[in-house]
């Protein structure tokens, strides 16, 4: 399930030992793997076919780069093309200046509309808006009650009329919102199948009467091939302004995101990352593409970490990760940092490889667990920390006694560390891909570039860098720039469009 694309490609392409350039013959099997990986990620069959034609066009004839394995080069092409297809992230919501802004949510049954209404209300409140929730689902039992509970949790008023019809409820809500001085109306509509003509007509009726400023389609990330059918139908009926993908907190590869985006052209604006109301995030194409390819999400880790970790330490760890050097000392620090982040499990799950690992910190007493792990590491000698594999039975007993735990706990910690180390190695390879970009000119200049983002971490809102931190960042960037230039000069070859480099 989690065998990542790169590994699969290396077997498929390795057989052909391509030299010099990629040709149709030597990448055929490799591209087949790409195709299968995308299909397994639930990208729509037709979208995959079209996409593969694009990728193959890009890949065939590409010069091989000595310092990089061909499969890495292909992964890079695939990655860039996918990110490109996903389009620029656009999380804007246009507010009406003359009166309340009406946002309407729609989608299939159980996709997460009601929960997302709550999440949106919370997010808008944080940016100073005054949301107003409208219970327009009169179909599902206790749907009104559900929204009321959510409204209570957020202290946001909820408008409802039990014995009415959805169109009237939505119409009535506008006047009431005005009366209460609320500026953003969020309509929670009932889930419906796109083939249910009556209910689709009802939605159009709401749209006609209420004229929502923003219509959002809530799409379940677990959706398979059918995603394009439903999204297309809703888009046809309502002219969607955006899509919200929910349930991306699990291990779904989320291919539906790509399909929906490709087929409707409607941008994905937000993603739902959990059941709680604070689990709504801006859509990040890199993150979703990484998930789709099973490559883990280093950008996501770094971003989440930044909210809690101090910048200096984060930078130091990033450098180490990239070099694939990460010892128990770092492990100790990083779990210490993680403690600050609320739920460690959540962070861990963002990594395909790690999600599988038995690093179950989620429901546990995270504080206690972190303290325990740190205690174990603290009982080790520097040599043991640098290379935990030298820990034999007698060392294990000593460490356990020192930390007041069982010897088995020591082995399990080493195992956890190994699991992490493997992932960090993988990450190191990922940033490698970025170096390829510099050499081949394959990437789209700047904008979508996981590596670049890594090198210059985006700082979470509200947190400012000290001059020292800024300086450090700048140096790191310059170093990378210099390296790129050096590599380009060394190669001095035309770019992928056949034009000589400027």
């Amino acid at each position: 399930m989690f065998d990542d694309l790169q590994k699969r490609l290396s077997t498929a392409i390795g057989r052909f030992k391509p030299r010099g350039v990629l040709t149709e013959a030597n990448i055929k099997d490799g591209l087949q793997e790409v195709r299968n990986a995308l299909l397994e990620a639930d990208v729509n069959y037709k979208v995959v076919q079209e996409f593969m034609a694009r990728v193959s066009e890009r890949a065939v004839g590409a010069q091989l780069i000595k310092s990089v394995r061909p499969e890495q080069q292909i992964v890079k092409i695939v990655h860039d093309e996918l990110v490109d297809l996903m389009g620029e992230p656009d999380t804007s919501i246009r507010f009406d200046k003359s009166g309340p802004t009406v946002v309407m949510l729609c989608g299939l049954q159980g996709s997460g509309k009601t929960t997302t209404c709550g999440k949106l209300a919370r997010m808008l409140m944080q940016s100073g808006r005054k949301p107003f929730l409208v219970a327009a689902d009169l179909q599902r039992p206790a749907a009104i009650e559900q929204l009321k509970v959510i409204g209570q949790q957020l202290q946001v008023p909820v408008f409802s009329q039990a014995d009415s019809d959805p169109v009237k409820v939505c119409q009535g809500s506008i006047a009431e919102a005005n009366r209460q001085g609320r500026d953003t109306i969020i309509l929670d509509t009932a889930g419906r199948l796109h083939v249910d003509d009556d209910l689709m007509a009802e939605l159009r009726e709401i749209e006609k009467k209420v004229k929502p400023h923003v219509v959002l389609f809530v799409c379940d990330a677990l959706t398979g091939q059918d995603a394009v059918a439903s999204a297309t139908a809703f888009n046809k009926a309502l002219e969607l302004d955006g899509v919200i993908m929910t349930k991306l907190d699990g291990d779904a590869r989320g291919g539906a995101a790509l399909s929906v985006r490709r087929v409707t052209g409607v941008p994905i604006k937000f993603v739902g990352m959990g059941e709680k109301l604070d689990k709504l995030q801006a859509f990040d194409p890199h993150r979703v593409v990484g998930q789709m390819l099973g490559m883990g999400d280093i950008v996501g880790l770094v971003e989440a970490a930044q909210q809690a970790i101090d910048q200096e330490e984060a930078l130091r760890q990033q450098e180490k990760m990239m070099k694939g050097k990460f010892d128990l000392n770092d492990f100790r620090n990083s779990i210490g940092q993680m403690k600050k982040m609320g739920s460690i499990g959540e962070l861990i799950k963002m990594f395909p490889g790690l999600g599988q690992m038995d690093l179950d910190i989620d429901g546990l007493d995270a504080e206690g667990e972190v303290r325990r792990l740190q205690g174990i590491i603290d009982s080790m000698t520097p040599a043991e920390k640098a290379d935990p594999h030298i820990i034999d039975i007698s060392r294990r007993r000593r460490i356990a006694a020192g930390a007041g735990v069982e010897p088995a706990d020591v082995s399990s910690l080493v195992k956890q560390f190994d699991g992490m180390a493997a992932v960090f190695k993988q990450m190191a390879q990922m940033t490698m891909l970025d170096k390829i970009r510099a050499m081949t000119g394959l990437g789209k200049a700047g904008a979508f570039n996981p590596g670049a983002k890594l090198m210059a971490p985006k700082i979470g809102t509200g947190k400012r860098l000290s001059p020292k931190e800024k300086e450090k960042l700048r140096k790191l960037r310059e170093k990378e720039e210099r390296k790129k230039r050096r590599e380009e000069r060394d190669r001095g070859r035309p770019d992928d469009k056949g034009r000589p480099r400027p």
């Binding site: 159980g110 091939q225 995603a227 059941e275």
Partner: protein, 301 residues
Amino acid sequence: MAFKDILERFKKGLAKTAQLFNVRSWFGRKVDQAFLDDLEGKLIQADVGVKATQRIIARVREEFSGKEADDDLIAFVKLELKALLTDAQPGTLATAPRKPTVILVAGVNGSGKTTSIAKLAQRLKDEGNSILLGACDTFRAAAADQLAIWAQRSGSDIVRGNPGADPASVAYDACDRALARGVDVLIVDTAGRLHTQSHLMRELEKIRAILQRKIAGAPHEVLLVLDATNGQNAIRQAEVFTQSIACTGIVLTKLDGTAKGGVVVAVRQVLNLPVKFVGVGEGLDDLQPFDADAFVESLFM
């Protein structure tokens, strides 16, 4: 018969014709790579998945390569699929030798657990059983209210806890009530959870353990509710839920849309987990015993 029903039937009839036409249009074609690619496309678009599809394709290639596609080929593919999917007793559930029979229901968020429980309650009620529902979803807003409304509509009894209460304690109380009242069937609703949330999976195991401890042989059925619109992730769902609470069957919901639910073919290749029922709407009567024949037909539509 209401006009809407007549229309429904008409539509279904039309769909059948379309499908016959579709399948027939393959006849006379040579079974070559292009043909197999088409067949593959059909199955993948029905969410059968790459691996499961490739297995089927390999069998067809073996038997029919170079021949002409005809009735035999279609029959062969269907037979392969049906053999995989057929359940000895579709639509029947295990019953306890001594009351109550306990059915535990689980699945990911929004898959249709609560609604399926309501439908199942109605069905078992119609067969003459008395029903108690255990509202062990204490997490989602108004989840117990939702189940309570269904309980009322289907004439079932319900045990519920306070929002945020320990679901295992609600299961405990439900068992007590079921034993005290001598009800025939206890159906336990649980909160939706993604199988990657290991602490929530442990919570589910705890619920199961309580049922087991309180009532001999319980749970007699553990039903996994899968959403037919789901893609390949359903395989992981089935694997992890089964590992955790030993599922005995699947309820495949939302088959009234355009999604085919073909992923259950892949699920069946890795697990011996039969589809027991399918959900075909939001009403109490919209639950049908799984019909492997009809299901397989629809995969090719």
